[in-house]
């Protein structure tokens, strides 16, 4: 998002007055510059945030490990209050699986790469992603810290015993019975 120091009114004026840029610039008789401003970013695209979420997802999985597939499903389910509610209904057997459409986000892969780089997770037999001791310690610390990732923690705890690899796998297979 680029903004000129003369502000939005000038931009509005340009759009209303059908002046071409050159005429406009020629008519401004004060010195001006264009400066690039930092871009806002949604919170869940912050590496720390997502890595912490990954740690919590693993902490609340059986054996402190999960497949990449499950992580993507959980990540997608954590997205918003609506997706959390739908997923909870699904694992409790109150929603059909076609109501859940898992979204595979490249950002999760990046977060996992960074987490691995920081030595928080490791891969086990090329299949499961697992917390390292350092990762486990940090995950516990985050889990205990109040007023932080509260909605996500509550969600992960609520689905912990239901969201098994089997149920996740089930989301990707279709049995059509006639």
């Amino acid at each position: 998002m680029k903004q000129s120091p003369i502000g939005c009114f000038a931009v509005l004026w340009i759009s209303h007055s059908h002046l071409d840029m050159e005429t406009l610039l020629a008519n401004i008789d004060i010195p001006f510059t264009f400066r690039q401003r930092p871009t806002p970013l949604v919170g869940d695209l912050r590496p720390v945030w997502r890595i912490s979420l990954v740690l919590l997802m693993l902490l609340h999985s059986r054996g402190k490990k999960a497949t990449l597939q499950k992580l993507h499903v959980m990540n997608s389910a954590c997205r918003s209050p609506d997706t959390r509610r739908d997923f909870l209904r699904y694992v409790q057997g109150n929603a059909r699986k076609d109501e859940i459409i898992p979204r595979v986000e490249p950002s999760l892969n990046r977060a996992l790469n960074l987490a691995r780089g920081e030595g928080l997770v490791e891969t086990e037999k090329g299949k499961n992603i697992k917390l390292t001791p350092a990762g486990l310690r940090l995950a516990n610390q985050i889990d205990k810290t109040s007023d932080c990732l509260e909605a996500e923690k509550a969600f992960l705890k609520a689905v912990e015993s239901f969201a098994t690899e089997g149920r996740v796998e089930d989301l990707f297979t279709w049995n059509i019975s006639l």
């Binding site: 930092p38 871009t39 970013l41 912490s52 920081e118 030595g119 310690r137 932080c148």
Partner: protein, 673 residues
């Protein structure tokens, strides 16, 4: 406010005679020494059992005593069956009153019953003393008259505070929850401070509540007071809102609205400009007084002239009918437009709400990210410094592909950015709400005017159709209409006057609550509280240094003002401590509380009971220093009891020159009496 142990008797009746032990306790440091497995923990557990505190050791209802008290004891190589057994404990309080407790372990009597004598029955077995039975372990033993827990609290001079549980109900803060601050048993007690906390009571913030009670902090009362005031505040706000609703409803029949009434209770009453009523007439809001005056004038004018007959009225009526029909069409058009506008606004408002919800979620995530950053930087993550942990290159603080977004805002900037947006949207929403309310009220007015016009048209038509000599229906209708309008407006005004008096009541109560709230300290602590916590911290650090604490610099540890426990830079200790340093923190913290209780008014037994304080991990030197410091308890009139398996020679060397009582058992503690 204190409790001292004076005598402990274990009595075990077997087929081969009476077994047991008798121990006397003086003030100051008492060392109970015996080899491992010889029964010193039995003594500690028997004390816990006699005090009815076994729930401290776990939720199980099993008797927390070893087989020597419950099934068989060993005499040499032989195993002897236990027929009956009991624990007797003599205790003394701050007033010098004695209480003797008897509790059966094996026998006919119910193990949930505790017998007590109001006096020192063990020291003086022949005295005749009032005896009473109490029960333990059942729910209610802390509250009921005949519950032992309540009796014990009374004996110590405590009033147990009421606390909230996770399910929202309330219960007393049980003695079993408080006592891990005074008694550390060997099995689980040394895992950390208050390791024996009975968490299955499901009391909220139990650890904190217990320390708060033991320290006798005013903060607890302040919190309670604040909660009470906040509840009252909420009630007053609610009453204010209800009154506003009543006032608005009472004005509906006259299409009126209130101007200048604050939405929330105002501490200032009467208001600098009194609230007034406006009425919507002929497309504009006007003060009700002027409409009342004009209505009355109009009525007076009409009453001066006789009611016209239909014949006289017909010419005028025809003209009026035309005017009324025109006016109706016009109003209907306006009402239609108004309805459309209203729906548009409502749609707009719904989308503003959606946007606000999304913004709030994002704000929460950004705030989380800010908090989580501190974890990352504590753990030394490279990516907090915007460097890739693998390739060590520059890394933008985003999970988007590196490149398109080259320069994302910092989390802090982002939070301000979102907060600004939320403010804007909040403002938009508030505007929309008041706009919608106004439009709705205007629409109602138009609708009632339309209704009035229809009635008028009907009566005009009847006037035109009726025989010419009857009084004009339209003329009569106008008068009746006017009279009833004046009546309703007058009634609404008098109702409103009454409601205003109720508003005044709420406003006065509101001011009272605000004043009381203002009197509470802003940080929630009295100066005495702060002095206590500071002193506890000083005692804690001082002891750590004395005991050779080495994992961290003792001066960087703090007693947290939030949880009243040792923390380091806001984090609980535990992860970074060596096993022996963990033990030292428990010594220092619990003994710190004990020492502090001699200086300040606190709820402390004035007693510490440690089972095997020298865990394998702690060095001999540290233990020696602990003994030296604990020996000072005698000068403060307090009691510290350590059960230990340290060899007697070591103990004699460590305590030479100290004023301590050593009770040493060469063989088994439980022996033939």
């Amino acid at each position: 406010m204190s409790l001292r142990l004076r005598q402990l008797h274990l009595r075990i009746q077997t087929g081969e005679g009476l077994f047991g032990t008798r121990i006397q306790f003086t003030n100051g440091l008492v060392l109970l020494r015996a080899e491992n497995t010889m029964g010193k923990s039995t003594c500690v557990q028997a004390i816990i059992y006699a005090l009815g505190l076994e729930k401290m050791l776990g939720p199980s209802n099993a008797i927390p005593l070893p087989h020597v008290m419950t099934s068989y004891l060993e005499d040499g190589q032989k195993e002897i069956q236990v027929l009956e057994s009991e624990v007797l404990l003599e205790i003394e309080n701050h007033k010098g009153e004695f209480l003797t407790i008897q509790r059966t372990v094996v026998g006919e009597r119910d193990t949930r019953l505790v017998s007590t004598w109001e006096g020192a029955r063990l020291t003086n077995p022949t005295a005749s003393l009032p005896k009473r039975d109490y029960y333990v372990r059942d729910p209610g033993s802390a509250q009921s008259e005949s519950g032992f827990s309540r009796k014990l609290a009374e004996f110590v001079g405590w009033e147990l505070p009421t606390v909230r549980r996770f399910n929202g109900s309330e219960c007393p803060l049980y003695l079993e929850a408080i006592c891990p601050l005074f008694i550390v048993e060997q099995k689980h007690g040394w895992a950390g401070i208050q390791a024996n906390l009975p968490t299955y009571f499901a009391i909220r913030e139990m650890a904190k509540r217990c320390v708060e009670f033991a320290l006798n902090l005013d903060a607890a009362r302040f919190t309670e007071e604040r909660q009470r005031l906040e509840q009252e505040e909420a009630e007053l706000k609610n009453r204010w809102k209800n009154l506003t609703d009543v006032a608005v409803t009472s004005l509906r029949p006259v299409n009126g609205r209130i101007v200048g009434l604050p939405e929330q209770p105002s501490a200032q009453w009467p208001l600098s400009t009194a609230p007034t009523i406006e009425v919507f007439r002929n497309g504009a809001w006007i003060a009700f007084e002027s409409t009342l005056v004009s209505d009355k004038e109009e009525l007076a004018r009409l009453e001066q002239t006789p009611v016209a007959t239909d014949g006289e009225a017909s010419v005028a009526a025809r003209a009026q009918l035309e005017a009324a029909q025109q006016s109706l069409a016009q109003r209907e058009l306006i009402a239609g437009e108004l309805l459309e506008e209203l729906q548009r606004e409502q749609l707009q408002q719904a989308s503003t709400e959606t946007r606000l919800a999304a913004l709030r979620e994002d704000l929460r995530r950004n705030k989380d990210a800010l908090k989580l950053k501190s974890f990352g930087s504590d753990a030394g993550w490279r990516l907090i410094e915007h460097v890739c942990p693998t390739c060590q290159q520059q890394l933008a603080d985003t999970l988007l592909p590196q490149g398109p977004v080259e320069n994302p805002m910092s989390v802090e900037e982002n939070i301000t950015f979102i907060e600004n947006q939320i403010r804007t949207f909040d403002h938009l929403r508030e505007n929309a709400v008041s706009l919608i309310a106004r439009k709705e009220s205007e629409l109602t007015t138009f609708r009632s005017e339309i209704e009035g016009l229809r009635v008028q048209i009907r009566s005009l038509r009847q006037t035109l159709l009726a025989p010419t000599s009857t009084p004009s229906i339209e003329a009569v209708r106008i008068r009746i209409d006017l009279e009833s309008r004046i009546r309703t407006v007058e009634r609404a005004i008098s109702d409103f006057g009454e409601t205003l008096e109720s508003f005044a009541e709420v406003a006065i109560a509101w001011r009272g609550v605000l004043e009381q709230k203002h009197k509470l300290p802003s940080d929630g602590f009295s100066s005495l509280d702060k002095a206590k916590l500071a002193r506890l911290q000083a005692l804690f650090r001082e002891q750590l240094k004395e005991f050779g604490f080495s994992s961290l610099n003792a001066d960087t540890l703090e007693i947290s003002m939030e949880i009243y426990r040792p923390t380091r830079e806001g984090f609980d200790l535990g992860f970074d401590l060596s096993a022996s340093d963990n033990i030292r923190t428990i010594w220092a913290y619990l003994q710190g509380l004990l020492e502090l209780s001699a200086e300040q008014p606190m709820n402390h037994f004035g007693l510490l009971l440690f089972d095997e304080p020298r865990q394998q991990e702690a060095a001999a030197l540290s233990f020696e220093r602990l003994l030296a410091r604990a020996a000072n308890a005698k000068m403060r009139g307090q009691q510290i009891i350590f059960a230990t398996s340290e060899p007697l020679a070591n103990i004699q060397r460590m305590t030479s020159g100290l004023d301590v009582q050593v009770v040493s058992f060469e063989k088994r503690v439980v022996s033939r009496l």
